[in-house]
């Protein structure tokens, strides 16, 4: 029991929760979106500034539980310098990881590895997905420079 709990609240997750990356404001973003998890009440706002094809600056502001805040913080850390197709690829890997599906063993997941424990807590998967779904929706909508309709993970 508490072993399983520590699997959810791994040290890396708690560290991201306490000191979330990207917790600032990006002016004149090229991509932005707000996400909500209506059942929990968790809310997130993500803004990206691009230079050419790549993400130059990102802000992630999340009000939520440890899992949603930590996942958003990891997102902020990982996608800097990545292209939009690369971001979508990483988001797919995160989804697979959270759903317990097979992923390439050789991938270096970095901090994302810590999200592996979430799959044992099915009710918490949507917390970990909030930031990723919010960003991918914005990329897919392609409405750069303004907020698309709010993403909801329900």
């Amino acid at each position: 029991m508490s072993d399983q709990l520590s699997d959810l609240y791994r040290d890396i997750i708690m560290e991201h929760y306490r000191f979330p990356r990207g917790h600032h404001h990006v002016d004149h973003p090229d991509i932005s979106n707000q996400g909500k998890n209506p059942v929990c009440g968790d809310e997130i706002e993500i803004k990206l500034k691009m230079t050419g094809e790549k993400v130059e600056n990102i802000s992630v502001n999340c009000v939520g539980c440890a899992i949603s805040v930590a996942s958003g913080s990891m997102l902020a850390e990982i996608i800097e310098g990545k292209t939009l197709p690369e971001i979508k690829e990483i988001a797919e890997i995160v989804k697979k990881l959270l759903k317990g599906e097979d992923i390439d063993e050789n991938l270096d997941l970095g901090d994302l590895e810590a999200l592996r424990g979430v799959k044992k807590f099915p009710l918490r998967v949507k917390c970990a997905l909030l930031s990723w779904t919010t960003l991918v929706d914005a990329i897919n909508a392609g409405k750069f420079g303004k907020s698309i309709q709010t993403t909801s993970t329900e």
Partner: protein, 430 residues
């Protein structure tokens, strides 16, 4: 009260205490098989009773006996089983009628849950009687079940929806009540007890104000009928809605009480078998009350198994239930107040509140808190408790909520207290 106040007196027989006696939760627990379960290797501490309660063995046995001995459709067929099923189903209706103060059996409609009960009133009475420019009054502390039907009705019929506000202590603010319940008001709908704040509202007073301006009053009794004596007649409610599963009964059975003259004038919202008296190719005549509101084969088994739940509560006595919960709630408020990081919502005076205690920790998100407590075997709810506008008013996206019933003990509240302290150490805030 860490020990002693609620322990078994020697020499008492196992079983239910006689009416009027204080509740012995330790003894009561023996009647609830699920409470023997272990969760994550720990003894289960079930504190989510405002969501649903556990069921005594008599209810489980009644469900089993119904399907293995009596099962048949009701109100049709002249065979023995059909007669037995019908009389068992109708016997529950009589028990419900007497449980809420001796109303008429014709005034008790079986529904799926309190939500459906309220929706029937909104769809039928509401649609036919609320006109453009009329006013509907509800409160800021309503559960979505007693909020959304009125938002929809107000939109559909062009009515004006007004809210009785709440004050900083979680009470209804009645300072402008005569402006809110004005002569244009046709319906006042309010909860008897808040599922978030625990506040017990002065329903009699508000119903009387509603009647003075010619409005009718609906009371959401989902959190009150299971926990205290509720007399629909004395309260003078025009409608009262509640659910069996929050008072030891099965899921899938709700009750709509309505005054006979109102129910008589209402058009059913569901049409089909069982609810008609005469059908031609062109027209229908509705069945008598209460059946005109019970179209199709009803949830017979769960209605039948609701009967022993009512017996169980009646034998304990609702005064004793209320007294037990007052003691537990007072104790919980005291113990939780010892933890500085906790903010507790709702009235502090146990005379004005029931046993649903919502709180937040200044550092730990309610979902993380609930997850931690679950690992210690403690089940409570975290979320907005189906009252999003109220949560926003309280300035939170969610809260944790512990809610008590007849089988909860002060020891369990101590365990909750200790686990909440431990959570702060676990998440490294202490």
């Amino acid at each position: 009260m860490k020990s002693g106040r609620m322990t078994t007196e020697p020499g008492e027989a196992i079983g239910l205490p006689a009416t009027g006696k204080a509740i012995d939760p330790v003894r009561i627990r023996k009647d609830f098989p699920l409470l023997k379960r272990r969760i994550n290797g720990q003894k289960l501490v079930y504190l989510d009773n405002a969501a649903t309660t556990q069921k005594p063995e008599t209810v489980l046995d009644a469900l089993d006996a119904y399907y293995s001995q009596t099962n048949a459709n009701v109100h049709r067929g002249l065979h023995t089983l059909a007669e037995e099923a019908t009389s068992a189903y109708e016997a529950t209706r009589d028990k419900v009628a007497s449980f809420i103060g001796g109303v008429k059996r014709e005034e008790i409609i079986f529904t799926r849950n309190a939500t459906e009960s309220i929706n029937i009133v909104a769809s039928s009475w509401g649609t036919e009687n609320i006109k453009s420019g009329d006013r509907i009054v509800i409160t800021q502390m309503e559960h979505h079940a007693n909020l959304i039907p009125w938002i929809m009705l107000a939109k559909k019929n062009g009515a004006d929806l007004q809210y009785i506000p709440i004050d900083a202590n979680g009470y209804l603010d009645l300072s402008h009540i005569n402006d809110i319940i004005n002569p244009r008001t046709k319906l006042v709908a309010l909860t008897h007890m808040s599922n978030v704040l625990g506040t017990i509202n002065p329903v009699e007073e508000i119903i009387s104000l509603a009647h003075k301006v010619g409005a009718i009053a609906l009371v959401d009794g989902a959190q009150s009928v299971p926990h205290m004596p509720v007399n629909a007649r004395a309260m003078n409610a025009d409608f009262l809605a509640f659910s069996a599963h929050k008072m030891l009964g099965p899921t899938g059975i709700g009750i709509l009480y309505g005054k006979e003259e109102l129910l008589r004038g209402m058009t059913p919202v569901t049409f089909g078998g069982e609810m008609i008296s005469l059908v031609t190719f062109n027209d229908v005549t509705w069945a008598e009350l209460p059946w005109k509101f019970e179209a199709g084969t009803p949830n017979i088994a769960d209605a039948v198994a609701f009967s022993p739940a009512l017996d169980y509560l009646s034998q304990i006595g609702m005064d004793a239930v209320r007294q037990h919960e007052k003691e537990l709630t007072g104790y919980a408020l005291d113990r939780l107040s010892e933890i500085d990081s906790l903010k507790i919502y709702g009235p502090r005076n146990i005379e004005h509140r029931g046993g649903a205690v919502s709180f937040t920790d200044s550092d730990i998100h309610p979902h993380d808190l609930a997850q931690f407590l679950d690992s210690r075997g403690i089940a409570l709810r975290a979320g907005h408790h189906c009252a999003q506008p109220l949560a926003r008013l309280l300035g939170v996206s969610s809260t944790a909520r512990a809610s008590f019933y007849i089988y909860n003990t002060s020891d369990e509240i101590d365990m909750l207290h200790d686990a909440l302290k431990e959570a702060r150490r676990y998440f490294k805030y202490e």
